[in-house]
Amino acid sequence: MNNAMANVVVFACNWDGLSCIEAAAQKGLRYPASVKIVRVTCLSRVHSGLILKAFELGANGVMLLGCNPGNCHFEIDAGLIEREYEKTRNILGLLGLREERLALTRLPGGDGPGFVKRVTNFIAGIAQTEPATLR
């Protein structure tokens, strides 16, 4: 699979997560155009149903991009996303779709190069071992 073809959905929190993506755009940093950004108010909004839906609709990988621990915009981070992340990884494993297709990435606000590096590595990881299981 060509890296540029990987269908990757990034669920980005509206705060530090999205600011990284915006910073990357402002600095003109390049990453594959097939990466689709879904902006959410907080990563705690994302649950296994949404993540799995992305795979059903043809995503090759899903990245959850949010604030560093303790840096949640809403002050209280109940650890919901960690729980959903673990559950969904296990489900992907059971389905034989491989756990590595889901990543939880936390970055400080405005880290454009950090985001590009992480998303590029993530895509490279998926592309390397891509079996023909996805559309």
Binding site: H47, S48, G49, L52, F55, E56, L94, G96, A132, T133
Partner: protein
């Protein structure tokens, strides 16, 4: 539309006398006045064309209580499934519980090139017989335990118990590495295309492995494999047994002896196993064969048993919770220490209700029948 006409005929819905007994016994109608089986049928039959959508069709639990009470055995749940299929085809949005995770998982399982890794839990001491033409159909328990980890759900315990019982009874069986969901919930939701894809894939897998007999511990898989597969795909001649049907005759005849467990238990008849499949006695015979176990019945049991409150991963709200709390009150009143059920979904729904009551609710322990029977063997 043609399909619906056939369903109207097959379900005997025109025999409805308007007596309203279905509504009186319906657990949903007791808590939600807007839900009325009799009027749903009346409204749909009065329409010449599709008319406005009836939103109440999504609340039905398919618990078969109405069929049980109806003098003409009008198959109202099946009529509801047909209405849902019609509504879905017209573009209705379903209110899925659990964020739609189950619907999506079922669709992902329908992929042709699916290669699941679903047997990591299999205990090493279970004896599988690769040559056997009997299959143990595991069901979605491995998936349930992951998604409901935070509720303390352990449906695989029931599966492991079932395998232990079968080994002890010297019934040889095999397990499929790439078994898919039976698809019942998609069928109940009205997604017939999704159901058929899963059903065909499973039937092909059965044929490839020369399966002639299937034993399962899940009532929903049981009914689907036994009744819905031949009904929707045509007969394939596979005999389907619920675990209790395989084990109960052996404990009755003394060929298999269970152990001892000093407990007072009550039994939750799963709707699909009881009213739908008419299996009431076998689970009780197994419980009766455990020495020291005292079975006490709840106020509503057997044909009148109350549903666990939710089905087919559809709506789950205050009404469903009220039904569950009603069931817990009956379990508490029976004085049982353990509420035994033969269905993984009853376990999930009741545990969820128990957990969300913040410890103020019923303290009764919830356990799977097979896991309890196997526990007595230790």
């Amino acid at each position: 539309m043609q399909n619906l006409e056939r369903e109207i005929k097959d379900t005997n819905i025109r025999l409805c006398l308007d007596c309203g007994k279905c509504t009186v016994v319906c657990p949903v109608a007791q808590h939600d006045p807007a839900f009325n089986p009799r009027l749903i049928a009346q409204r749909r039959l009065a329409q010449n064309s599709h008319g406005s959508r009836d939103e109440t069709i999504w609340s039905c639990l398919s618990c078969y209580m109405c069929v049980e009470r109806c003098n003409y055995h009008v198959n109202f749940p099946r009529f509801i499934h047909a209405l849902r299929a019609e509504s879905l085809a017209e573009g209705a949005q379903i209110q899925c519980s659990h964020g739609g995770a189950f619907q999506t998982m079922m669709h992902l399982m329908a992929r042709e090139d699916l290669q699941q890794k679903r047997l990591d839990w299999l205990p090493k001491d279970v004896e599988l017989s690769g040559q056997s033409d009997t299959l143990f159909f595991v069901g979605c328990a491995p998936y349930f335990d992951v998604l409901f980890n935070d509720l303390g759900v352990n449906t695989l315990d029931g599966v492991k118990g079932a395998l232990k019982l079968l080994n002890r009874a010297q019934i040889p069986f095999n397990i499929l590495a790439n078994e898919r969901c039976c698809g019942r919930d998609l069928l109940l939701q009205g997604d017939r295309k999704g159901f058929l894809t899963l059903a065909k894939a499973n039937v092909e897998e059965f044929a490839r492995h020369g399966v002639k007999r299937i034993i399962t511990n899940c009532p929903e898989c049981y009914y689907t494999l036994k009744a819905d597969y031949p009904n929707m795909l045509g007969g394939r001649g596979i005999e389907v047994l619920h675990l209790t049907q395989a084990i109960a005759p052996l404990v009755q005849s003394g060929k298999l002896s269970l152990g001892k467990l000093e407990k007072r238990v009550t039994y939750q008849d799963p709707c699909t196993l009881g009213r739908c499949s008419r299996i009431f006695d076998e689970p009780r015979q197994i419980l009766g064969a455990v020495a020291g176990l005292k079975l006490v019945e709840m106020e509503q049991s057997r044909e009148k048993a109350l549903c666990c409150g939710a089905t087919s991963w559809l709506q789950c709200g205050a009404v469903n919770r009220q039904i569950q709390n009603q069931r817990f009150a009956q379990a508490e009143a029976s004085g049982a220490e353990i509420l035994v059920t033969a269905c993984p979904k009853c376990q999930i729904h009741l545990r969820c209700a128990q957990k969300s009551s913040d410890g103020k609710g019923a303290r009764v322990e919830i356990q799977d029948l097979a896991s309890l029977a196997a526990r007595s063997l230790d």
